[in-house]
Structures are given as structure tokens and as C-alpha cells.
């Protein structure tokens, strides 16, 4: 019978666990929240840890961020699994709205992409004047370049640079490798292979496994990285929390939201620059 007592004890512990988890679920459903599909760069850079609590405290609303590549974020939003979309590839965002999945696309902020690579710079891209010329130099010297190879905003930008550099996308080769992974994973690979890669500045600043990697090319208008925000269309997906989404978007684009973005510092540097329509910020 002692065994039976023990078994009962084990089951009651398990039952207790189920009970607490259902309690937690109940707790969560009471709180107001919206789901926002966004990119890994905004999550990994720590911007949201800084920005979102300021909003949540004021409006008593939780923003649940799913941080994935821009392509995947768009797919999540298209299926109606998010209320707000916050990503960085303008053409895809405009197409998203054009196809009726989103209500309106608005600029939020920008920063830039940079080309990082091994300190010794085998392709000598430091001397180049444009991003396209830097890519050309890498292609000509056959120095190893790690590409995301997914459908992230960063990869789409990289493809655009390749297009203007050599009129095509390089074929997978010993020097051109596709990681098929996120920005952080790709930086880890580039770091261990001493390879070049394109990254957004925020992810780079927050990345702690740089080893020999350095910023080797920056400051080209082509490298601008614009972030936009879109409310998922409630006419298409009835359950979209339209009002709540509206409140959040309004706040992010307000003077307060924009100033909060501008005051965020990573390693003492400003990595996001607010540029919402109609707001002149420094």
C-alpha cells in the first residue's frame, strides 16, 4: 500500500502542476495584449526590452513579440497570427498592404547595414567606395562570404547589392556559402570561418562573439535599413485586436515613442534613428 501512497503523491504533484499552469494561462488571458511579428534584429539588439515596458506601463497592455526573419514575420502576419507587423523590407511591406493583408505601412525608424569581415581584409574592401564595389572585390578575390540564404530583410538587401555589383546572385561555391540561418547564427559562422557577411548595425553592436571580425565597410546610401510598422487588416482577420494595435502604433509614431527610440543606447551608441512621418527628430 505504501507504493500506492507514493503514486498518489506523485500524481497529486502532477495535478498541482497542471493546476498552476492553467492558473497562469488564466492570468495571461485577463491581461490585455497584442502579438507583434518582428525581426530578430529589433529583439536581439535589446531595443524592445527598452521601448516596450515604457508603453506597457502606461497603457497596461503587453506586447508579445515573436522575433523571426522578415520573410517569416510576413507569413505569420499573413495567416493572421499577429496583430502588428514591425519589419525591415519596404517592398515586401508595401506588397503586404497592396495585397490587402495590412492596413497601412508607416516608417518608424532606420539604421544601416554594414559589411563585416576578418581584420586582415583579404579582399581589400576597406578601400572601396561603394557597397557594390566592396561586393565586387569579395567576388573577384574569392574571399569567403557567408550569406543568410533565407528570406530575411537582410538577405533581400544583400541580394540587391549583389545585383548592382555583378548583375546576379553568386552561385553557392567555396567562397559563397549560404548559412540558411538567422543573423546571429550567421555571424557565429562568419566569425569562426573568418568570412565576410552583411549585417545590420544593431545586431552587430550586440553580438559578443566577434573574434577577428571588424566593420570593414559602411556608409553607403544603398545600405540604409528602414523599419516599417503595419496593422494587420482586421477586415481580413476578424480576431485582430484592431483598437489595441492602433493604440500601440500611434504611440510608437508619437513624439514620445520616437524620442524613446532615439534615446536607446547600445554600448553607448545610438543604433536606431526614429523617422516617423511628420516627426522631425534629431
Amino acid at each position: 500500500m505504501r507504493i500506492a501512497v507514493r503514486l498518489i503523491a506523485v500524481w497529486s504533484v502532477l495535478a498541482g502542476l497542471i493546476h498552476t499552469s492553467s492558473l497562469i494561462a488564466a492570468e495571461q488571458s485577463i491581461e490585455r495584449f497584442i502579438v507583434m511579428a518582428s525581426t530578430t534584429s529589433t529583439v536581439n539588439s535589446g531595443l524592445f526590452d527598452y521601448l516596450l515596458p515604457k508603453f506597457s506601463n502606461k497603457f497596461k497592455m503587453q506586447i508579445r513579440v515573436v522575433g523571426v526573419g522578415t520573410g517569416q514575420a510576413l507569413r505569420i502576419a499573413r495567416r493572421g497570427d499577429a496583430d502588428v507587423l514591425f519589419v525591415h523590407h519596404k517592398e515586401s511591406e508595401l506588397a503586404f498592404v497592396r495585397d490587402g493583408f495590412g492596413v497601412k505601412r508607416l516608417n518608424v525608424m532606420y539604421n544601416d547595414f554594414i559589411i563585416v569581415g576578418p581584420q586582415v581584409d583579404p579582399a581589400k574592401i576597406k578601400k572601396t567606395k561603394t557597397a557594390a564595389a566592396a561586393y565586387q572585390a569579395i567576388a573577384q578575390s574569392r574571399a569567403v562570404f557567408v550569406s543568410r540564404g533565407d528570406d530575411s530583410g537582410t538577405h533581400k538587401k544583400s541580394l540587391a547589392i549583389w545585383q548592382s555589383a555583378i548583375n546576379t546572385k553568386p552561385k553557392s561555391a567555396i567562397w559563397y556559402q549560404e548559412s540558411g540561418a538567422g543573423m546571429g547564427a550567421t555571424l557565429n559562422i562568419a566569425s569562426s570561418m573568418e568570412a565576410y557577411t552583411l549585417t545590420d548595425r544593431a545586431t552587430w553592436e550586440n553580438f559578443n562573439n566577434k573574434t577577428t571580425l571588424k566593420i570593414l565597410f559602411e556608409n553607403d546610401p544603398l545600405l540604409q535599413n528602414q523599419y516599417g510598422i503595419i496593422k494587420v487588416n482586421p477586415a481580413l482577420h476578424k480576431h485582430v485586436k484592431s483598437q489595441e494595435a492602433e493604440i500601440f502604433i500611434k504611440w510608437v509614431l508619437s513624439a514620445e515613442g520616437q524620442a524613446t527610440i532615439n534615446t536607446y543606447r547600445l554600448n553607448g551608441k545610438q543604433v536606431f534613428f526614429a523617422n516617423a512621418p511628420g516627426k522631425k527628430m534629431n
Partner: protein, 234 residues
């Protein structure tokens, strides 16, 4: 080797400073995996024993399929559950995507075949030994399955632990259906993936050490209970 010593230092620091955020993540990990194991056992144990006992057409095919399902890739399970729970999917109206419940569903589907297949494997031997006795006693199907499971309970603890190990270690499924949302669906494995992507390798490995310690704790507890029960039982 400095990478590993750094990782252990990170793990130690994490444990010593026991932050509430870490406690939250560890708590959610345990909750999701334990509840998944519980539900998967409720289905998997009787299913496995039934497959050991009853003869019906297609049984062998079912056994092969079940064994094959032990190798289900977590990402595939995650994707299937995602498509089902997505707002555009058949169960979209429930609004379960990106919640702990979705993670429990995914992990349950992932480990149920493991528990069922291992249970069948273990009880089929008992069944061969006692088949005649059961038949002479005229035991009904329900009684037979219950009696077999009860007789085999000490072996089945390992079966259930195998399920728990798989559940608590996987990242692919919970990442997709949970979304790794801070304070809502972030568990140990998704945190490890996130910290790795930030290049915080020591911290990621440190979290891995804590995850291992948790698994060790759960297994040690199960082992001790099992030993004590065996002793009393003779």
C-alpha cells in the same frame, strides 16, 4: 578549454544570483514538459499495452508506424501544430498559437509515440509470460491492460523518463508554436538558442548546464522512488 570553464562560471553565477527571470524560464520549461509527459503517458501507456495484448488486422503496420514516429523531428511536429493552431488553420478560433498550451500540445504529440512504442516493447514480454494465466482467469481487455501496466510499472518509469528527456531537450517545436516570447513562452531551450544567436556562447552553455542539472534532478528523483518501491515490493 577556457570556453568551457567560462560556461561553468556562467552557470554558477546564474544559479547563485538566482534571478526571477531565470526562475520563470526554468519554471515554464518544467511545467510545459511535465504536463506534456503526463498527458502523453495517459494516452501512450494504455495504447502501448493494448498493442502488446490485442491481435487485430493491421497491428504490425501500426507497430512499425509507431516505432518510426519515435524519430519524428521536433521541427516537423512544430510546423504541423503551427498550421493547425494558426488563425488560418482548422483550430485557429481557439487562439492557442504562441501560448504555453500550444507548446504542451506539440510536446505531447512528439513524445506520445515514444512512450507508446517503448511501453509496447516492455509489456509484450510480460504478456508472453502471463498470457495463459490472464486467459484462464478470463480477464477482460481493460483489466488485462491495467494489470500489465501495473506489473510493469518499474520498467515504465524509464519509459516515461525517456519521454521527459525528449520533451525538455527539444527546441524546434516549442520555438515554432511558442514563438519564444519573453515572459510568455520563453523556455530553457529557446533561451539557449537566443543567447547563442547573440554570440553569448558562455551564457548559452551555462544555461545548458542548468538544463542538464534539472534533467539529472528529475531522473535521480525517479530512480530513488523506484528503488525504494522495488525494495518494499521485494
Amino acid at each position: 578549454m577556457s570556453d568551457f570553464s567560462e560556461a561553468f562560471a556562467a552557470a554558477l553565477a546564474l544559479i547563485l544570483n538566482f534571478e526571477s527571470s531565470l526562475a520563470e524560464i526554468v519554471g515554464l520549461s518544467l511545467q510545459v514538459s511535465l504536463v506534456a509527459v503526463f498527458i502523453a503517458s495517459l494516452i501512450g501507456l494504455p495504447l502501448g499495452a493494448a498493442l502488446a495484448v490485442f491481435r487485430f488486422p493491421g497491428r504490425k503496420t501500426l507497430v512499425v508506424i509507431l516505432n518510426a514516429l519515435m524519430g519524428l523531428p521536433p521541427v516537423v511536429v512544430g510546423l504541423i501544430v503551427y498550421l493547425i493552431l494558426s488563425r488560418s488553420g482548422p483550430l485557429g478560433t481557439l487562439g492557442l498559437l504562441f501560448t504555453p498550451t500550444a507548446m504542451i500540445i506539440a510536446q505531447t504529440l512528439l513524445i506520445m509515440p515514444i512512450i507508446a512504442a517503448l511501453t509496447r516493447q516492455s509489456t509484450v514480454q510480460l504478456w508472453h509470460e502471463y498470457e495463459d494465466q490472464f486467459k484462464s482467469l478470463g480477464a477482460g481487455p481493460g483489466e488485462t491492460v491495467t494489470a500489465l501496466l501495473w506489473d510493469d510499472r518499474f520498467n515504465l518509469v524509464t519509459t516515461i523518463l525517456a519521454g521527459f528527456g525528449r520533451a525538455s531537450a527539444e527546441v524546434g517545436a516549442v520555438m515554432i508554436v511558442g514563438g519564444n516570447i519573453d515572459h510568455v513562452t520563453r523556455v530553457m531551450t529557446t533561451t539557449i538558442a537566443l543567447e547563442t544567436s547573440k554570440g553569448n556562447l558562455a551564457l548559452a552553455l551555462g544555461l545548458g548546464v542548468i538544463l542538464l542539472c534539472l534533467a539529472l534532478g528529475v531522473n535521480a528523483a525517479a530512480y530513488l522512488i523506484n528503488e525504494a518501491a522495488l525494495k518494499r515490493h521485494g
